[in-house]
């Protein structure tokens, strides 16, 4: 059993459930980086850990909630967002974050994603996109790039992948960014910005997956190198250009930060005041 973290991680140690380490995640997976960055963001946010809540769904990323020492909920597949919305509505002073995978958020939970964005709930959703269902053995997900091979697309995927930033934009989110797990400083800053944004924040994080590389006969190191070298940071980009095509450069960056739109929680509070509800 691991009893303490290396000296470089002392700042986040109180926020990690050390007794639960090592994590279940595969070597070379970037979820550990996201765990580190999310907890670092909690430290840097200046908001006490008691006021942070994390909710996860099911899958590899769904295990994230279990490693963070804040109020943490590991709920059913696809339903992290409505559960998080319930907590936020009940206690609007809490900083509520959902961290879950592409299958959880964009497939089974896709309806909740778009409606929570439409209502502009003041929560942060970190979608960890590894292009595949890793935990269940490598089936295609709604973000699997066309042409790539999975257990359920053995002849090459014939579907179009979701463009998550575009989807979030169309549905009405207030903050939208996309990074890879190699862009740690940018991702950390993005998470901090999302905490502060009064509205629905979506951060897509691209994460190399050994299950995906194996199914597509790509060397894992190649895949990691691809994420590191073929990702181009761009601002003022058209959302429709954020489509991910396998083998082509990926556009990353911060794409939207609106401050003009009140959150659902703000509007509800206003409504209560207006009618004299206390």
């Amino acid at each position: 059993m691991i009893r303490e973290l290396p000296p470089a991680y002392k700042d986040i140690e109180p926020l990690i459930r050390i007794e639960r380490l090592p994590t279940i995640w595969c070597p070379a997976c970037g979820l550990g980086i996201i765990l580190k960055l999310y907890t670092k963001a909690i430290v840097k946010s200046g908001i006490p850990p008691e006021k942070h809540v994390i909710v996860s769904g099911i899958g590899c990323t769904g295990r994230m909630a279990g490693y963070v020492r804040v109020d943490s909920y590991h709920v059913t597949h696809g339903r992290a967002i409505p559960f998080a919305v319930g907590i936020k509505m009940a206690k609007p002073w809490l900083t509520v974050t959902v961290i879950s995978g592409d299958g959880d958020i964009a497939s089974i939970g896709g309806n909740h994603l778009i409606h929570a964005a439409r209502r502009n709930h003041d929560i942060t959703v970190i979608v960890v996109n590894n292009y595949i269902y890793g935990m269940t053995g490598g089936q295609s997900s709604p973000t699997t790039p066309s042409g790539s091979k999975t257990m359920t697309s053995p002849y090459g995927h014939i579907e179009e992948p979701f463009n998550i930033p575009y989807l979030a934009y169309a549905a009405g989110a207030s903050y939208i960014a996309r990074w890879t797990v190699f862009h740690d400083i940018q991702l950390l800053n993005s998470i901090l910005k999302a905490f502060r944004t009064k509205g629905f924040s979506v951060i897509e994080v691209l994460n190399p997956c050994t299950v995906f590389s194996y199914r597509n006969n790509i060397d894992m190191l190649e895949l990691i190198r691809y994420f590191r070298t073929r990702a181009i940071v761009k601002r003022d980009v058209k959302f429709e250009d954020l489509r991910i095509e396998f083998g082509k450069p990926i556009i990353i960056g911060e794409f939207l930060h609106r401050t003009d739109k009140p959150s659902f929680e703000e509007k509800y509070l206003e409504l209560k005041k207006k009618i004299g509800g206390g």
Binding site: R17, E19, R20, P49, E50, K51, V53, V55, A65, G66, R69, V70, D71, S72, Y73, H74, V75, T76, R79, P82, F83, A84, V85, G86, I87, K88, M89, A90, K91, W93, L94, N111, H112, H115, Y268, L271, K272, I275, G276, G277, G278
Partner: protein
């Protein structure tokens, strides 16, 4: 308290009586999705929740609605949703989560005729089994069977108390007739309404590392809400007392037996039923919900003609007061139990489990249609001899 329904007598629709009862019980979180014949309850909540300072939200579907209610409950508010059969089906996986995380929640099911879309505008009693067995795995829920708007009002308050006391999802199985019928509602003095709040941890938040969200030394562990400072972990995975995933045989046994024991060992405290004309009865009709109305009428008529028939009216489907059925059966006086219900045998199935001596007869009904008193009278004349 001034914003709550004042003591007195009112003439209210069942759905609205239910909503007002929830507010009186301290419910401050409502999430729901429109569905006939429960929507009036939601309309009323949309107006009333902000007035009393609570949360109202319309979910994008029933799954979102119950998950929002569970989130509200995780944050410490008494939470509720209302729906009808199709919605209850969609909520089942989340009901399993509520049982596993031991999150109190009240789900009001204004039953309609099924299966599938069935007859949305007519009554049904087809959700008795799905209320208990709808989610996968072993767990226990509590499900009530009110039969009038007043009973729906009273039972809604009790449902919140049960949910909070036992940290369990509670389902109120009303139906279209009860939900949309207007009836006299007596609201007691607020001081007479007994309310139960979920037990808080005895350990202070500073000692959060010592707090066990699922402490197995107690059947019903104390509850720390999100934001209370205990930094808890809850998971739908099989877990240990700390809430951490534990897939061992020992952890599995410990958790699941506790989830069922906390209800089964308190079944006699939770279960409710009514007995009418039972003292000299040789034949006993088992009926519940809106069906017990015409049954009462028919029994009165039959008794005028000398039939020794009584009524057993379960007010909880789960836990079912089977021990009382057994006692009545063992008394040797009851010759027949006649189960009259608007389904193909959901409570009949349960009654048979407890009756060893007497004959058990089932009178099913077409989903949607309350049996007419005259028809019930003819059944009495046919079977009670």
């Amino acid at each position: 308290m001034s914003k709550l329904l004042k003591p007195g007598t009112y003439f209210l629709e069942g759905n609205i009586a239910c909503a007002e009862a929830a507010l009186l019980a301290g419910c401050r979180f409502y999430a729901g999705y429109p569905i006939t014949p429960s929507s009036e309850l939601m309309h009323h909540m949309a107006r009333r929740m902000p007035e009393v300072g609570g949360v109202f939200i319309q979910g994008e579907d029933e799954i979102a609605s119950i998950m929002m209610a569970l989130g509200g409950s995780a944050a410490g508010l008494k939470s509720m949703t209302a729906t009808s059969g199709p919605g209850l089906s969609l909520m089942q996986e989340s009901i399993g989560l509520a049982a596993m995380l031991e999150l109190p929640v009240v789900i009001v099911d204004i039953q309609r005729a099924g299966p599938s879309t069935g007859i949305p505008t007519l009554m049904g009693q087809g959700d008795i089994m799905q209320a208990k067995w709808g989610s996968h795995g072993d767990y226990e829920v509590v499900a009530y069977l009110p039969s009038t708007p007043q009973e729906l009002f009273d039972i809604t308050i009790e449902a919140f108390n049960t949910a909070e006391e036992y940290r369990v999802p509670v389902i109120v199985l009303a139906d279209k007739i009860i939900g949309q019928m207007y009836g006299r509602i007596k609201v007691p003095d607020h001081s007479e309404i007994k309310l139960i709040e979920r037990k808080k941890p005895a350990i202070p938040p500073e000692k959060y590392m010592e707090y066990l969200p699922y402490d197995s030394r107690e059947l019903i562990p104390p509850f720390a809400a999100a934001g209370d400072g205990y930094r808890i972990h809850m998971t739908g995975l099989m877990h240990d007392d700390r809430g951490y995933p534990n897939l061992s045989q020992e952890a599995s046994w410990k958790l699941v037996t506790r989830l069922v024991r906390k209800i089964r060992e308190n079944a006699r405290k939770i279960a409710k039923w009514g007995e009418h004309w039972i003292d000299d009865a040789e034949y006993l009709i088992v009926a519940y919900g809106s069906v017990s109305g015409p049954v009462r009428y028919a029994i009165k008529k039959a008794r005028e003609e000398g039939y020794k028939v009584g009524l057993f009216r379960p007010l909880t489907a789960w836990p079912f007061p089977g021990w009382r059925i057994k006692e009545l059966d063992n008394s040797g006086v009851i010759k027949k139990f006649i189960v009259i219900e608007v389904n193909m045998g959901q409570i009949y199935h349960v009654v048979r489990e407890y009756v060893r001596n007497a004959e058990v007869i089932h009178v099913p009904g077409a989903p949607g249609y309350l049996p007419e008193p005259q028809r019930i009278l003819s059944y009495i004349k046919k079977f009670c001899r």
